[in-house]
């Protein structure tokens, strides 16, 4: 307790709580409110409607939701496999090359997403590999952008799991693959789920690289939201943002449930 007097504490709260509400509560509040507003010309919306939500699950917007979910799941799964593989492989390497390789796997997180989009656009619009205009290039961009976070999460988890379980398994004669499947990966499961959640959330909200390379017919939600808000359809944009936020949160909450179950077990 930093402030001992009752009045001092109340004063601090009177200053701080409105700050929290204005900075973090209000933005979410107005997006939620706008997503159900029919008309908003006055201080508060004049009437409410669910029309925007009905629209969101029709045609174009629904395709974006699907594109975002598919891209998010596939890119995160690929990043999870490659990140886990890299983190496991790096354990067996001498300290000095290990640090260099570790840095290599982290670097994509430090490169601006727009530049990643541009680099993929430049690289895959010319031979030997032509991917420009395909859905695959969007997934590649998401994979590159989230791979560092996945790798970082798994590597951090790997450093925290007790090494004696694996050593015991080894001393009892477990083959490396069996040990990996039955000891290491189960111990690592909560971290794998956390890594997947983070990369899924990042992929769902990704805009910078996607806007550079998305092909027609594979607009992700953030790109659609930008297109709507650019056109002045801010209520529809708010609705899609709500759906994006809720879809992300649902997946995150679901995964954290599984994760806490895995930890208890």
């Amino acid at each position: 307790m930093l402030v001992w007097s009752k009045s001092g504490r109340v004063l601090t709260w009177l200053l701080a709580i409105p700050l929290f509400v204005i900075i973090y509560g209000l933005p979410i509040g107005v997006i939620a409110l706008a997503s159900v507003s029919g008309q908003w010309n006055d201080v508060l919306p004049s009437h409410f409607t669910l029309e925007h939500y009905a629209d969101a699950f029709r045609a174009a917007s629904f395709d974006s939701l699907k594109a975002s979910l598919v891209t998010g799941v596939l890119a995160s799964a690929a990043a999870l496999v490659s990140g886990t593989w890299a983190a496991l492989a790096l354990r067996r390497i001498q300290p000095v090359p290990k640090r260099i390789l570790d840095l290599c796997f982290f670097i994509p997180s430090a490169v601006p997403s727009v530049s990643i989009g541009l680099s993929l656009l430049v690289a895959f619009s010319q031979p030997p590999v032509l991917l420009n205009g395909t859905r695959l290039i969007v997934m590649i961009a998401h994979f590159v952008l989230i791979s560092a976070f996945t790798y970082g999460n798994v590597a951090a988890g790997l450093a925290r799991i007790p090494s004696d379980c694996e050593q015991v398994a080894e001393s009892l004669g477990a083959r490396p693959f069996y040990r990996l499947r039955r000891v290491t990966l189960p111990l690592l499961l909560p971290y794998l789920i956390a890594a997947f959640s983070l990369s899924f959330a990042l992929s769902m909200g990704e805009l910078g690289a996607t806007v550079m390379i998305y092909p027609p017919g594979w607009m992700t939600l953030p790109v659609s939201i930008f297109a709507l808000s650019d056109r002045g359809a801010i209520f529809d944009a708010a609705t899609l943002t709500m759906i994006l936020g809720m879809a992300t949160m649902l997946v995150l909450i679901g995964l954290s449930r599984i994760s806490s179950k895995a930890t208890v077990r």
Partner: protein, 290 residues
């Protein structure tokens, strides 16, 4: 611990073992390093002879210099804002906790997972010319024009980035604050130290590593921020990522876009190096960085 585990592995197959790292490394090389090298090549003349003329041309252009200036000003101001706001909010949550402070901390933490443009979109409804604030003020005081008009300037971008990236400062700060011995603060205050003095002499020194680490992460993220700037869409607020986008997608000028991208990547890699050095200096645990 991890190194000890490596030592425990039989030393007969170390060479073979290190080949396992090759597949993910190849993927990274093909999908990240190869494309990145191509934008450097494109910036240096592409298929034609090596030349620095694109660089000198772009780097001396008005638009690039404005973009660089805007990027630096916005990133610096937003980072300063994040550090101040993050410190104050964490201080209240950790040391003057109110009912529900924990859930507030969790709400703020979820902002890390949400897309950055959410806040910008929300700001249109709150501070936009037909937004909540302006309409209320017009109703109350009868202004003719919307009195609050900062959103479509760099201040709008700075405010939005501060909101979005403050959680990145708060996360390590709250972790550090939970390690400060409460007894130390109680003793200090029972000896008559005022809250400000306790903050200055006990809390601030302990929080410094987390503040520096969180602040440098914010600097990196704000330099690279794109969504917020795109959504605000102000004509005179063009940052480097925004410039790359408009050059490549709206003007199809890939060479210029590549030159700017090289500069932007170099800038953010140097900031990233700074961040890693700071974490290494303070030690990951003390900085509370996970």
């Amino acid at each position: 611990m991890a190194d000890a585990a490596i030592a425990g592995v039989p030393a007969s197959r170390p060479r073979l073992d290190s080949f396992w790292v090759v597949p993910p490394l190849l993927i990274l090389a093909a999908l990240f390093f190869y494309p990145l090298s191509l934008i450097v090549r494109e910036a240096l003349g592409g298929n034609e002879a090596f030349t620095l003329s694109h660089f000198s041309e772009v780097l001396s252009s008005r638009r690039f210099l404005d973009g660089l200036y805007n990027t630096i000003i916005i990133a610096t101001c937003a980072t300063a804002g994040c550090i101040v706001l993050g410190f104050v909010l964490s201080l209240v949550i950790a040391f003057v906790p109110f009912r529900g402070a924990k859930s507030v901390a969790r709400l703020i933490d979820t902002f890390i997972a949400l897309p950055t443009f959410l806040v910008t979109l929300a700001f249109t409804f709150i501070y936009g010319s037909a937004g909540l604030l302006n309409v209320s003020l017009i109703r109350l005081f009868g202004f003719d024009l919307p009195p609050v008009d900062f959103l479509y300037s760099q201040w709008g971008v700075i405010l939005a980035e501060t909101t979005v990236y403050t959680p990145f400062v708060m996360r390590p700060l709250l972790a550090t604050f939970s390690q400060i011995d409460q007894a130390q603060i109680e003793v200090a205050s029972s000896l008559g130290a005022k809250p400000l003095r306790i903050i200055r002499q006990i809390i601030l020194p302990a929080a410094l590593p987390a503040l520096v680490a969180g602040g440098s992460l914010c600097l990196l993220l704000t330099v690279n921020e794109f969504g917020i700037v795109l959504f605000i869409g102000a004509k005179d607020v063009i940052t480097l990522p925004m410039l790359i986008y408009s050059k490549a997608i709206q003007e199809f000028d890939y060479t210029t876009a590549c030159v700017i991208a090289v500069v932007n990547v170099a800038l953010s890699l140097s900031l990233y190096t700074l961040y890693r050095l700071i974490i290494a200096h303070f030690g990951g645990n003390r900085a509370g960085v996970v």
